[in-house]
Amino acid sequence: MAQCGACTVHLGDTAVRSCQLPVSAVGKEAITTIEGLSAKGDHPVQKAWLEHDVAQCGYCQAGQIMSAASLLKSNPKPTDADIDAAMSGNICRCGTYLRIKEAIKSASTNNG
């Protein structure tokens, strides 16, 4: 496991794969799933995802969004190489990588 990234959640502010996360590793850190990222789907990353209409089948996208949100928290202005490095653990079988990258850049700009 830990191969595809579809189950990505946040432990504290860090993106982790929930399929590989023993409960004992959680400690006192908060776990955030996609449902907890924002109440109405208006987190800057989610908004950018809609603006670029990223999803095809959509199955990977919750994980992609969680990885992207975590990246932008630690690195508000990522370069292409930063994005590649942070996002390459999340497979998208439908091949939406370009739009994911564009959306991350939009979210990064919108963050100020």
Binding site: G41, C57, Y59, S88, G95
Partner: protein, 750 residues
Amino acid sequence: MKTTKTTYNRRSFLKASMLAGGGMMLSVSWLSSAKAADKLEALNVPGQWVELNGYIQITPDNVIRLLCPNPEFGQNVMTSLPMMLAEELDADWKNVVVEMGPHDNTKLGPQFTGGSNSVRMYWKPLREAGAAARQMLCEAAAQTWNVPVGEVAAKAGVLSHSSGKSAKYGEMATKAATVAVPKGMKLKSPKDFTIVRNSKKNVEGLKVITGKPLFGLDYRADGMLIAMIQHPPAFGMKLKSFDASQTLKMPGIKDVFSLKLYEDGFVQGGFDTRTFNDLLVVVGKSTWEVMNARKKLLVQWEPTGDSKDTMAGRDGKREVTIPGGLESTSAQLEKMQEMAKKPAQLLRKDGDPETAFKNAAQIIERTYNAPFLAHNTMEPMNFFAHVTDDKAVFVGPLQAPGWVEPTLSKVLNLPADKIEIQMTRMGGGFGRRAYAHYMTEAALISKKVKAPIKLIYTREDDMTYGIYRPMYTATYRAALDANKNLIGFHVKGGGIPEHPVHANRFPAGAVDNYLAEGWEIPSNITIGAFRAPRSNFNAAAEQSFLDEVAEAMGKDPIELRLELLKRAKENPVGKNNEYDPDRYAGVLTLVRDKSNWNKGGNEKYHRGVAAYFCHNSYAAHVVDMVTRDGQPYVERVFSVIDCGIVVNPDSAKNMVQGAVVDGIGNAFYGALTHKNGAPEQSNFHNYRLIRHNEAPKQIDVHFVENDIDPTGLGEPPFPPVFGAVANALYKTTGKRQYNQPFKADPEKRI
């Protein structure tokens, strides 16, 4: 389905709709229209929907609900099909909500998502349904206002008359439902489109990005148990005996049993393909518990030996022998080489190819090979089933409900009207979910344990008992005369277990002396559709070959193709040529222009080009490759598609970009190999899929603009990616690619 309606908030609306639809999914366009969502919140019961026809429901409050007939797997039909309806209905898209229709072939048509067919098949029926509903609304207004119907105008959801009278569609809906359904409606001319050809956002976009439970794997029902299958470790093996005593001691486990999927003599349709017939099943409370308990099974497997399947055929049923034996990729390749030397089935012959090759000044002969490919949909196979004595309810990801229903009916011994199927959003399909054996498995398991169950395949299950893209090979020969004219063309293709040759496609029709042949080797490895399975092999092989032929002729590869297409148009050889040479040439000339082919400014890149026709559409790509960290990398791609009218341009562009990425990934990494019948890959650590850092930085997509009725789009852009990548790799490395997956250094084989 058990649902309760309590208060009139958004959630209860969703629940209530489940009751009406008999399924779990309601796809409401919260995003595209806040107004519609507000309206929905104010609604109390779905009984207030006025149904104008199978697809269209309108409330007196002016919310228009359109049912999408075809299941969604990412090609965005849940948006594009309703757009076609809304166009002729002249609805206000802001007031439109979209819901996935249940399986109902009588009301909703064939409901098959696949074969690049959804938009093409529904282009006329959905627009006719929209136009008829619009006419009924006009009629209702005419009656109410006592004016001739010809004087009633309908635009953006509003009916009006020159006297100043006007009404929203919703106000006339109840009356409209009593009007006789008109026939033979005149449809709009493309120049009058206001919704079609104008990009609309994915109607499920907000649900996707907020992680709403859209997929089969998300689905839960009260009392639902989880089932998994322990399958044989290799193709050619079957269950002999098992000891479940340790498994049954594990927490949460309810039952372990074996069952037979199809009884002997069961007549299989073309999409009843199943990998193993004797199933060993573990049922328990949770995925985790079942997964762990399954590991404790002690199982004895034995060789199947040769076995027989009964297949439905055009002239009644026929018996097919499935060979026993444990197949290995290396032995398969040897067998293919032997078969390739033997006489094969003649598929097409024009002129006198034998003489042409005998008289040739130069013959170019190349052989191409490709392995099995696994679909690897992001969401593995799964299905919910609840079978009782008098009814069966199914919820899950499925491409073709109409094809599995007769099978379920036979296997469960239930009439078709007692079988309810609700399709969820699919986490990918690519052809895999047209083979719904996993649903029949779920049905039998639920029947056996007398409980609602969800059958789940793990990633490993999904990859190791798949319905793969076949293993293919083809030898191409080109005969050139002393002046380097192409005087003969020969393709001889084979495969396990089917050959890939499309005998009537380009360059058939463009060469005087042409020969196409095919041969097949039966196998116990199960195969099926995979984003144009034959085409994606052919486009890799034939388009690489043509590149090499162009080089031998001293011609630019685009120029050679255009010359051949000119010949096919002006003086076609043979009769049954499948393609339109003008449209084929159209994508090539446009990609030449858009990519600045042979023009300055592209010196940084090694460029490869390819074009292909399949599923009624035309696609061409120019792939721009660089060497990055010592490895070939596709940095930029220009894509041109002619699929007629493009219904939803931005999402069509997304799908083409996805097809390009998918093509590059499969060309470089796709391979499912076997050793003694056992797949050698089981998860993404040894079956590589393309990742972010390997995707191109830029994919420019252009559609040929014309008013031709829409043809296919899901598949056509995919096949020529392989050929363009191979040709760019040649420019990058100086080496031709004859074997998939491609390697920078082709000597290093898998």
